[in-house]
């Protein structure tokens, strides 16, 4: 690994600085527990959004079933950590949940990813509904009543760690040959296949990676909010995640992060008005699609903007 380049040090520095800043604000008491919940929600939503963006924004496979993978991670992590009540159990649960979501993602992806556009969207929606109905009927998940009293190990430190990890890994992936293969599929599937890319394979890989992180986010959710029920992971949740991705820009990780923070704040302020919040969401979706279909960031990332700002002469190839 080329760990000690100037750029990497800069990134590492800003990651630590952000962490320290929030930590100080919490310690001083400016951020009380109410805002801590907001921050936790934002972290979880960032993981969900960047992973969905990989599937929908970068690989071009429209999925409406992300909440399904999240629920798998959540339930697996909850069930394991309720039986092994240690930090180790929590981490094991997270990993197992993410892997379970990956396996389901692969199993579902292989047949459905042959479908295109809105057909795929509707198939993934159906799949997430099936997963929800299964959780509603299983004994181990306690049906519609859900699971209560899940040990709470996820805290701000863990959430931040996993959020950064998700962003870094997905960003790394996108700047690699398999990642470029995924982007090529979005651009032109027929041309991609003619350039030697096994399109089915890479769609499934993108789907699996997306499912892994959705599962991870689910596990963190279960542990932080210590309560689960199947209805949390319905169609509505999938759309919630989609709104973040679309608002930020399909194909921009930076956009997903910004949108997750923005919507997290909006949600906090509209907490007690569910209907109003959903109307705001709905209007946002329609207005963005009509007036700025590329979202806040388009497909630009933060370094594109910085480059523009400082007018760098030498174009660096990532």
């Amino acid at each position: 690994m080329r760990t000690l380049t100037k750029k990497n040090l800069l990134i590492l520095g800003s990651i630590l600085l952000t962490f320290a800043l929030v930590q100080v604000l919490v310690l001083v008491g400016i951020l009380d527990s109410f805002y801590e919940i907001t921050i936790a929600t934002i972290c979880i939503n960032i993981i969900l959004a960047v992973s969905l963006n990989l599937v929908t924004g970068f690989t071009g496979q429209f999925s409406l079933g992300h909440a399904g993978f999240m629920s798998i991670g959540a339930y697996v992590c909850a069930i394991i950590s309720m039986r092994i009540g240690t930090v180790g159990g929590f981490l094991l649960g997270l990993l197992a949940g993410a892997l379970a979501a990956t396996v389901v993602g692969i199993l579902i992806g292989i047949p459905t990813l042959r479908l295109k556009g809105d057909y795929l969207a509707i198939a993934t929606l159906g799949m997430a509904e099936i997963i929800r109905v299964v959780f509603l009927n299983l004994e181990i998940t306690n049906g519609a009543a859900g699971l209560n009293g899940i040990p709470r190990y996820a805290n701000w430190l863990w959430l931040y760690f996993f959020t950064v990890m998700a962003i870094v890994i997905i960003n790394n992936f996108l700047k690699s040959s398999p990642g470029r293969a995924c982007i090529a599929i979005r651009e032109d599937e027929i041309a991609a296949e003619s350039m030697g890319i096994n399109t089915t394979k890479y769609k499934v890989i993108a789907f699996a990676v997306g499912a892994f992180f959705a599962g991870l986010a689910g596990g963190l959710y279960a542990s932080y909010f210590y309560f689960l029920k199947p209805d949390l992971f319905g169609f509505m949740k999938s759309v919630d995640i989609l709104v973040i991705v679309v608002l930020g820009g399909l194909g921009s990780l930076t956009g997903s992060v910004i949108a997750a923070i923005l919507l997290g704040l909006i949600t906090t302020f509209l907490q007690s008005f569910t209907a109003v919040r959903m109307i705001v969401y709905a209007v946002l979706l329609v207005v963005i699609m009509i007036f700025r279909p590329q979202g806040l960031m388009g497909s630009k990332e933060i370094n594109d903007l910085l480059k523009f700002r400082f007018g760098k002469k030498e174009e660096k190839i990532e």
Partner: protein
């Protein structure tokens, strides 16, 4: 045995036979032209060779090292892996990606590092990515595109887009290159430049080339042999000079009425 041996290849769509009983041989190092009037089945033949369509009958055999590989019915990415690369009649670049990325994507099948390196950017990743970049730059240099490597493909002028498509096809390291109307829409000056490049890359990369073209100046100038297709059937083959004088070819192109008059 020739590099590519197409034997009695047929493709029907419902009742329509688009390619009928076509047999073609292409030897290593040759530059072969495929011509014919509009709708003669040229692009369909390309699509059969590259795996976009599955043949109704017949075989497509490619010689690779000592072995012979049957390509008929294989998926496009598989065919590319065996050493066939193509361009498209209606240019199918990755329009919203940079020139550089277009070429690097096509190098995909020769990349050796795995998924874990891709996630974590191990040394293996950096080493190979550096090589990739250097190789892509070399290819772009040939097509005079290196100064535009960070531009989006969609912003290139038409002629350069055609060049980039050829560069992208070459990046897959093919033994046989299929060009579908590479000079379509070009002016005579651009066509002349393209003719030169095609000849040059053939020697430089030791390529075998099959090209579909309507521009006869290009075909007659560089092709060593020509196959003529009409209504899905092979009606003539041979050297350019012979094809020029072939009665059936003239009929096919001009219509019987003219030749009878």
């Amino acid at each position: 045995m020739p590099l590519l041996k197409v034997d009695k290849l047929t493709k029907s769509f419902g009742g329509l036979t688009a390619v009928s009983n076509v047999s073609i041989d292409i030897n290593k190092g040759e530059l072969v032209g495929l011509i014919g009037p509009n709708g003669a089945g040229k692009t369909t033949l390309f699509n059969l060779l590259t795996g976009v369509y599955v043949p109704s009958s017949g075989s497509i055999a490619l010689k690779k090292n000592a072995a012979t590989i049957e390509l008929g019915g294989k998926k496009p990415y598989h065919v590319t892996k065996e050493g066939l690369a193509r361009t498209f009649q209606n240019i199918r670049l990755f329009k919203d990606l940079t020139v550089m990325d277009n070429v690097r994507i096509a190098m995909h099948q020769n990349v050796k590092y795995g998924l874990v390196s891709a996630f974590l950017h191990f040394n293996k990743y950096h080493k190979e990515e550096d090589e990739l970049k250097a190789e892509a730059e070399r290819l772009l240099e040939i097509f005079h595109l290196s100064h535009k490597k960070m531009e989006l493909a969609r912003n290139l002028p038409y002629g350069e887009q055609r060049h980039l498509e050829i560069a992208r096809a070459l990046a897959t390291k093919p033994s046989l290159l299929l060009l579908d109307e590479p000079a379509a829409g070009m002016n005579p000056y651009e066509t002349a430049a393209l003719t030169e490049i095609i000849g040059w890359i053939r020697n430089e990369f030791g390529l075998t080339i099959l090209l579909i073209e309507h521009d006869m100046s290009l075909v007659m100038k560089i092709c060593e042999r020509i196959y003529v297709l009409d209504y899905g059937m092979l009606i003539a083959s041979g050297e350019p000079n012979k094809i020029k004088k072939n009665k059936r070819v003239i009929e096919a192109y001009l219509g019987e009425d003219v030749s009878n008059a």
